[in-house]
C-alpha cells in the first residue's frame, strides 16, 4: 500500500495567533476557530504545502525541535486529529 501523504491548509487560509500554552487558529475557509496546543501549530508549520509522509514529517520536526518522547504513534494521533478538524489533508 502506498504511504499516506499529508499537507497543511494553505497559509493564506489560516490566521494563527499564539496566546500562551495555547494557540488560536482561525480557518478562513470554514470560519471555524480552533484552540490548539503543541505540537499542532508546529506540525502545520512543518508540513506547509509539501506533500510528505508521517515519517518524513517526524524527521523534519526532529531537526527543528527537541522531540523528547515523540513516536510514530503519537505523531499519527495528532495528525489524525488535525485531519479530523480540517486543517490538514490526508492524500
Amino acid at each position: 500500500m502506498a504511504e499516506r501523504l499529508y499537507r497543511a491548509a494553505s497559509a493564506e487560509t489560516l490566521l494563527i495567533e499564539p496566546l500562551d500554552e495555547f494557540t488560536l487558529i482561525f480557518h478562513r475557509a470554514s470560519g471555524l476557530t480552533h484552540l490548539v496546543a503543541a505540537p499542532a501549530p508546529e506540525i502545520i508549520a512543518a508540513l506547509d504545502r509539501d506533500q510528505i509522509s508521517a515519517a518524513t514529517l517526524l524527521e523534519r520536526l526532529g531537526t527543528r525541535y527537541e522531540l523528547g518522547d515523540a513516536s510514530d504513534e503519537l505523531l499519527q494521533a495528532r495528525l489524525d486529529e488535525l485531519v479530523a478538524i480540517g486543517l490538514v489533508a490526508a492524500l
Binding site: L15, L19, E21, L24, L35
Partner: protein
C-alpha cells in the same frame, strides 16, 4: 401596529410596535430623555402582539415578534409589557447585531477606560454596574458591551438596568434618588425592577471607551481573585458573545486583540460591598 415607540440606545435604533397602549406608555416614561433613532430609521423592529386575537381583551397576554423570534417563548401577561419589550429588544440585538462584536457583559467607564463584567445569569453583572454607577462611574450598559472590530473600543448600550430579586433592594438602597420602573413580581426570571440610567450616562451614550479590565464575577462565594490567561479569557468571551461566529474574521481579530491587550480577572464575592472593593482595588493596579 396601533401603538409605536422609537428610541436609540447607544448606536442601535429600535421601533417597538404594540397592540396595546399601556406598554408603549410605560416605555415612553422610562426612556424619556433618550434620543430617537438616527434619521428616524430604526435598526431593529420589535412587535408585541396579542397571543390570540380575542386575548387583546380577555386576560390579555403578549407574544413577541421581530426579525428574530423564539418559537418557544411563552406569552407574558400585559402587566409585564416592559419586560416583554426588553426581552424582544435584547433578542434582536443578540441575533441581528453585525457592526459590533457583542459581549453579554455589563460595562462602566472612568476617564475613558472601561471595566467589562461578564458571567452567567445571577453573577451580578447588572447589580455591580448599577452600584459602580452610584459611585461615580459612567454606566455604559448592564447587558451588552459592543466592541468595534476596527478600533477595539467598547461602545455603550445603556438600556434600562434590569435588577432581579435581592439585587433590587441592594441597588435601591445605594441609589435612593434613582428612577425605577414598576416592580414586576413573579416573572419567568423572578421579581424584576428596572432602573433608569442616570442622565449623564444617557447623555454620553455615544462616547466609546478603551477596554481596560475584564472581570468575571461570581456571587455567593468567599472572596477570591484569580488572574486569567489569554486562552481562558478567549474561551469565556466567545461563550459570552452572541455573534462571534457570525462576524467571522472580524470577530476573531476583535476577540484576539481584546484578550491580548486587556487585563482579566475572575472575582468571587459574598456581597455587594466586597465586589466593589475587588473592582476598585484591581482598577488601582492598572
Amino acid at each position: 401596529m396601533k401603538h409605536v415607540f422609537t428610541v436609540r440606545i447607544g448606536p442601535a435604533g429600535f421601533r417597538v410596535g404594540s397592540d396595546w397602549r399601556a406598554p408603549i406608555r410605560a416605555l415612553e416614561r422610562l426612556y424619556a430623555g433618550y434620543p430617537a433613532p438616527e434619521d428616524n430609521i430604526p435598526d431593529f423592529t420589535v412587535r408585541l402582539f396579542a397571543a390570540r386575537p380575542w386575548r387583546h381583551w380577555l386576560r390579555p397576554s403578549i407574544t413577541l415578534g421581530g426579525d428574530f423570534v423564539l418559537p418557544e417563548a411563552a406569552p407574558l401577561p400585559l402587566s409585564q409589557g416592559v419586560l416583554a419589550a426588553e426581552m424582544a429588544m435584547n433578542l434582536q440585538m443578540a441575533m441581528g447585531q453585525r457592526r459590533y462584536l457583542l459581549l453579554h457583559a455589563s460595562a462602566v467607564e472612568r476617564e475613558g477606560r472601561a471595566v467589562l463584567m461578564t458571567g452567567l445569569s445571577g453573577a451580578g453583572k447588572s447589580t455591580l454596574a448599577a452600584l459602580l454607577a452610584a459611585r461615580g462611574w459612567r454606566l455604559m450598559g448592564d447587558e451588552f458591551a459592543l466592541i468595534d472590530p476596527a478600533s477595539g473600543l467598547v461602545h455603550a448600550f445603556p438600556r434600562l438596568v434590569s435588577l432581579k430579586n435581592r439585587a433590587i433592594e441592594v441597588v435601591r438602597k445605594a441609589l435612593p434618588e434613582g428612577r425605577f420602573g414598576p416592580l414586576l413580581a413573579g416573572t419567568p426570571k423572578g421579581d424584576i425592577q428596572h432602573l433608569v440610567p442616570d442622565s449623564r450616562s444617557i447623555a454620553r451614550m455615544g462616547d466609546p471607551a478603551r477596554p481596560a479590565l475584564l472581570l468575571f464575577p461570581r456571587f455567593g462565594f468567599d472572596n477570591a481573585e484569580r488572574g486569567l490567561g489569554p486562552s481562558e479569557v478567549f474561551v469565556r468571551l466567545t461563550q459570552a458573545s452572541t455573534n462571534y461566529v457570525a462576524l467571522g474574521e472580524r470577530g476573531f481579530a476583535a476577540m484576539t486583540r481584546l484578550v491580548r491587550e486587556v487585563a482579566a480577572c475572575a472575582i468571587d464575592y459574598p456581597d455587594a460591598d466586597a465586589a466593589i472593593t475587588h473592582v476598585e482595588r484591581l482598577w488601582a493596579t492598572l
